[in-house]
């Protein structure tokens, strides 16, 4: 018994030692050999969080805020983290400033993907965020955001807006993650990389209940977000607001440029919209109503529309003629209420005849520039009309037409200048100078953006060159903007040839001509009206101007669709803007009144289209039902 007992004692001892040994080996392999658990332990407690920077703000040229940033929060919910016992939805809804029903709806949505952070509501103010934090609603988290604010409520199309990134954008750029915001349209889009700043990263320690317990590694691995750069725009907010006001009810665009720098002072696309509409919780509704508006408030006419330039294009025609030697400033052409060619006639209005170049500009004689254009493209030195048009194309291109100017603006349009190839195709290669003669006076196939027309005003003001128009003059933290904006872009026309044209524009305003109303005492305003025929209704009204004649400070182009004569509406608008810019005062309240009261009739085009569209939508909606 004793012997057997002793043997068994030893066996049991071995078992106990074996148990200890197995445990030690297991502990050794877990704690020393394997590093799997280290990683898991860190993963348990550390959560990587994106720190969002403040989006950069935009100032106007005088230092006034065009776009301000305001702190706000997105509220997201992780359904899995919600307390099982329920919570006070009514109170939460009141903190979030939504109805309890809407909250329920969002929670139901979140239930579909219980582990993901689902957006409940955006644009929560800082005060309400504090209330939310105090309330200790488990499962609800906030994300830092910047909301945009517009003190003057101007420049909807100009400034663009900020919207959530699309899936495609997320795929395309590494920087963005789902739920991020990105600049869309306008300055927001063109200067996205400057405005957005750089996102930061923080490593936070969380306890098992989901409460933050501090930063990991004392924040040594954290990357602070970099605030977006502040931009200084070339826009004059006061002028922009005034121009937008004048354009109310009119469809068209206003662009004003400082000729000596190419800085865009005003850029109005009308109808415009209040940029605040694209911020906040009503954003989607507002956006939808804009989408269904046939006047297309979100279409930036100032840089995208293709308008026939009308008579304003005569300036270019005259300059090309002078440079090519087919025209001399003193040449006179007769005008008998128009220009007859073959069986057809290009009509003109009543004025004394014959006129020299200066007066032809001042009085905007159609016949004169038809002669100039005909003489140019049919000149024997080119060999054929086709080649003549090609040379003409080259000149027109140097004025910035038919191509992008290369501005810093988002979505700049090209306009359109017909080429010999275009006519070959359209007329089966059977065309002559008569076919293209309407180009002489900026009609026919010609299409220009209001920006290109304003640039033409700047070219004439500068007597032969321009600076690429741009909208941002300074970026915080940088010495200069892109070099190209400081370089003179010369046209193919020598400076000397601009003298009679400028003279004509001056006479048109100050002596006798179509632009008399644009006269500002002591400012030597130069201008050129344009009345563009179009197949959709009344003529488009346009006016191109700069002032003063020497050392011009502002060049402007106004375009009002179906506005009638150039002098009837485009001119007063341009003149008032010039006056405000040059003198800081408005001395002609009567004219302001007139402009505001002048409402072009769009019933035959836009309104008719809208009616049709609305009916179709209604039908579709009914069919769906």
């Amino acid at each position: 018994m004793s012997d057997q007992g002793y043997i068994r004692y030893r066996i049991l001892r071995i078992i106990v030692i074996a148990v200890g040994a197995i445990m030690l080996i297991r502990l050794f392999s877990m704690q020393i050999i394997s590093d799997e658990y280290d990683a898991k332990a860190t993963k348990n407690i550390v959560r990587i969080e994106t720190e969002y920077p403040m989006r950069g703000e935009v100032l106007d040229r005088r230092g006034e805020y065009l776009v301000k940033s305001r702190v706000c929060y997105d509220v997201v919910v992780v359904h899995r983290e919600l307390p099982k016992t329920g919570f006070d939805t009514v109170r939460l809804a009141s903190i979030l400033d939504i109805t309890p029903e809407y909250l329920e709806k969002q929670l139901k949505k979140a239930r579909q993907s219980p582990r993901a952070a689902i957006l409940v509501v955006g644009y929560l103010s800082q005060e309400n965020k504090l209330l939310l934090d105090e309330g200790g609603f488990k499962g609800f988290h906030t994300r830092f955001r910047t909301a945009r604010e517009y003190p003057r409520k101007i420049g909807g199309n100009l400034l663009g807006y900020v919207s959530e990134v699309t899936d495609r954008q997320v795929d395309k750029w590494e920087y963005y993650e789902k739920g991020d915001y990105i600049g869309t349209n306008g300055v927001e889009s063109a200067y996205e990389t400057e405005l957005r700043g750089e996102k930061g990263v923080s490593y936070r320690i969380y306890d098992s209940h989901g409460a933050v317990q501090g930063s990991y590694n004392d924040g040594a691995d954290d990357i602070l977000p970099v605030k977006g750069a502040q931009l200084t725009s070339t826009i004059d907010a006061r002028l922009q607001e005034f121009a937008e006001e004048l354009m109310v009810g009119k469809i068209g665009a206003v662009v004003a440029i400082e000729p000596s720098t190419g800085e865009i002072l005003v850029m109005v696309s009308s109808p415009s919209y209040n940029p605040d509409l694209m911020v906040g919780r009503q954003r989607n509704n507002n956006y939808a109503s804009m989408i269904h508006d046939m006047r297309q408030p979100q279409f930036n006419r100032a840089v995208k529309a293709k308008y026939p330039p009308g008579s304003t294009f005569k300036l270019v025609q005259g300059l090309i003629g002078l440079q090519e030697g087919v025209l001399h400033a003193s040449d006179r052409y007769p005008c008998n209420m128009g220009f007859s060619y073959g069986s057809r006639k290009m009509a003109c209005h009543a004025h004394s005849s014959p006129l020299d170049l200066r007066d032809a500009v001042a009085h905007s004689c159609n016949a004169y520039f038809c002669y100039v254009f005909r003489d140019m493209i049919t000149n024997a030195k080119y060999g054929s009309v086709k080649e003549g048009v090609r040379v003409w194309n080259k000149y027109v291109d140097s004025f910035g037409f038919g191509r992008q100017l290369g501005t810093d603006f988002y979505g700049e349009g090209k306009g359109y200048v017909p080429t010999p190839e275009f006519y070959d195709k359209g007329y089966n290669e059977r065309w002559n100078w008569g076919t293209v003669i309407s180009c002489a006076i900026g009609q026919g196939e010609m299409g220009c953006t209001p920006l290109q027309m304003a640039n033409l005003a700047a070219i004439v003001a500068n007597r032969g060159y321009y600076y690429i128009p741009h909208i941002i003059k300074h970026i915080e933290g940088r010495d200069s903007i892109d070099r190209k904006f400081y370089e003179r872009q010369y046209t193919l026309v020598d400076s000397i040839h601009f003298v009679p044209i400028v003279e004509g524009m001056w006479r048109g305003v100050n002596v006798a001509g179509t632009s008399g109303k644009a006269r500002l005492e002591g400012w030597d305003v130069c201008g050129k009206t344009g009345t563009a025929e179009n197949p959709n209704g009344k003529d488009h009204s346009t006016f191109l101007s700069f002032a003063p004649k020497n050392n011009p400070k502002i060049a402007i182009s106004v375009y009002v669709e179906h506005g009638g004569f150039g002098a009837s509406i485009a001119l007063p608008i341009a003149s008032l803007i010039e006056e405000l810019y040059l003198t800081d005062t408005i001395t002609r309240p009567q004219m302001v009144e007139e402009v505001l009261n002048y409402q072009p009739n769009y019933s035959r085009n836009y309104d008719a289209k809208q009616r049709k569209y609305d009916e179709e939508r209604k039908k579709k909606a009914e069919n769906k039902k």
């Binding site: 068994r8 049991l12 106990v16 200890g20 197995i22 877990m30 704690q31 898991k40 407690i45």
Partner: protein, 478 residues
């Protein structure tokens, strides 16, 4: 009695304390202190303000340490014979307490194993372990007791099974299984080793039945027993012929009849068993009967194991399934073990330092101050600390066994072995659970886990052993 003589002669209690086993006492104190330290660490979080507040677990535990120290002193001062005398009343009292708990107890974590006395909660099962150990020692040390005799075996089986049954009814199976510790004691006391083989066999079969297809289990058993028989008899050709006969019969039956593979195998094996039994009886080769009986047992057990399993509580089922790897559920049952392993595994060589364990501090380890207290050692003191704790426990168990061997009379020896075995099972199950070697069973780590009744019960349990050993030492001194 010698002891009576000794006590009256030596008189003072100080000399009695002088005879206690200092190693065992030292290890006991070390483990308790480590436990207090761990509970302190578990009690603090970022919101703790007043460190001396009695609402903190570690302050409560310190009070229990105080109570336990007093209790330890009392136990060490008691007359050795008292324990012998108290065995019956203590056991009966313990059983009554268990029954009362079953009737009026409080449910904690699904087990109705707690008794509330005012603000104090005690778990009677902790004290029942002492009573059962005393009872076992008392019965098995009787001069008329013979462990090889069936009636005596039944006697001790009843002593164990009565509390076990009540504990299982309380839904506290983990604590119940601790009573299995007495199998070690009985082994030391000469219980036939053949009893252990079926027990092991049953456990292996049970786990196999859960993991493997029955057909595979039986084929494996067939191979196993054929090899066993070949080795035992040295005969080869006949066994191989027999083995392939069964396989062939099985294949034929399962392909030619619509019977399933499993049923066919059962039929063939049944025929084989009957044939073999007849053969064995005829040729008087009784050695064959052993494997035949085992195989027959397996044939009965495997189908019933599944039924048995279905009768377990859902949480027990889940724990077992998770443990054997059939269910991968890191969110629920697996969560505790997963977090526990992460905490321990991330401890490294020297750990993250006192109160610096991130998994502990940020509450990722569940039940960190009770059942999973070993995680604190593992994370904050690393392999170094864990190894010390494991070695301390192993040393204490081995010291108790040594003390048992040292005590010449059976009562003391059996009692010491009982204590060692109970500690061993607790340590295996608890630490094994935290490092993923054992399924999750809610039993505390002796002397370390937070909880008054557990600390007090283990203190008494161990102190009685030390007291019994001390009297032996006194005797040896003379």
């Amino acid at each position: 009695m010698y002891s009576e003589y000794n006590i009256s002669r030596r008189g003072s209690s100080t000399s009695l304390f002088g005879n206690v086993d200092r190693v065992a006492l030292g290890i006991y104190i070390a483990i308790v202190l480590i436990g207090v330290m761990c509970i302190t660490s578990a009690s603090f979080d970022s919101e703790t303000t007043n460190i001396f507040s009695f609402s903190h677990n570690y302050m409560k535990q310190l009070i229990w340490v105080g109570i336990s120290s007093v209790m330890a002193a009392i136990v060490l001062l008691l007359d050795r014979r008292l324990f012998h005398m108290f065995a019956y009343p203590a056991y009966i009292f313990g059983i009554l307490l268990l029954l009362c708990t079953l009737a009026f107890g409080t449910k904690v974590n699904g087990a109705k194993a707690w008794f509330e006395l005012g603000s104090i909660r005690i778990q009677p099962v902790e004290f029942v372990k002492i009573a059962t150990a005393l009872m076992m020692a008392r019965i098995m040390s009787d001069y008329a007791f013979n462990i090889k005799r069936l009636t005596d075996l039944i006697k001790i089986a009843v002593v164990i099974m009565v509390p076990f049954g009540i504990i299982v009814l309380q839904n506290d199976t983990g604590s119940g299984l601790v009573l299995g510790a007495f199998l070690f004691v009985m082994y030391r006391e000469g219980l036939s080793k053949y009893i252990y083989f079926p027990i092991l066999f049953t456990i292996v079969l049970f786990i196999a039945a859960l993991i493997l297809q029955p057909v595979i289990i039986f084929l494996a058993l067939l191979v196993f027993f054929t090899l066993y028989s070949i080795l035992k008899t040295g005969e080869f050709i006949g066994h191989i012929r027999f083995f392939f006969g069964i396989i062939l019969g099985w294949l034929l039956l399962s392909t030619l009849t619509p019977l399933s593979g499993y049923v066919s195998l059962m039929i063939v094996c049944g025929i084989a068993i009957i044939t073999l039994t007849a053969l064995a009886l005829k040729t008087h080769t009784m050695m064959l009967l052993w494997p035949i009986a085992m195989f027959f047992y397996a044939m009965v057990f495997v189908p019933t194991a599944d039924t048995l399993f279905q009768h377990l509580e859902p949480h027990q089922k889940n724990r077992i399934l998770t443990f054997v790897g059939l269910v991968d559920d890191p969110r629920n049952v697996g969560y505790n073990v997963n977090q526990s392993k992460i905490a321990i595994g991330s401890g490294g060589l020297f750990g993250k330092g006192f109160m610096e364990g991130t998994q502990i501090k940020y509450d990722y380890v569940p039940e960190k101050h009770t059942d999973f207290i070993f995680c604190i050692v593992g994370e904050e003191w690393g392999f170094f600390g864990s190894a010390i704790v494991v070695i301390l426990y192993v040393s204490l168990i081995m010291r108790l066994m040594k003390m048992g061997e040292r005590i010449k009379e059976p009562f003391g020896r059996i009692y010491c072995y009982s204590v060692a075995s109970i500690l061993l099972v607790h340590v295996i199950v608890n630490i094994g659970m935290t490092i993923g070697l054992m399924p999750v069973m809610g039993i505390p780590l002796p002397l370390m886990s937070y909880g008054g009744s557990s600390l007090l019960a283990f203190t008494i349990l161990i102190m009685i052993a030390i007291r019994l050993d001390a009297s032996t030492s006194e005797r040896n001194l003379i």
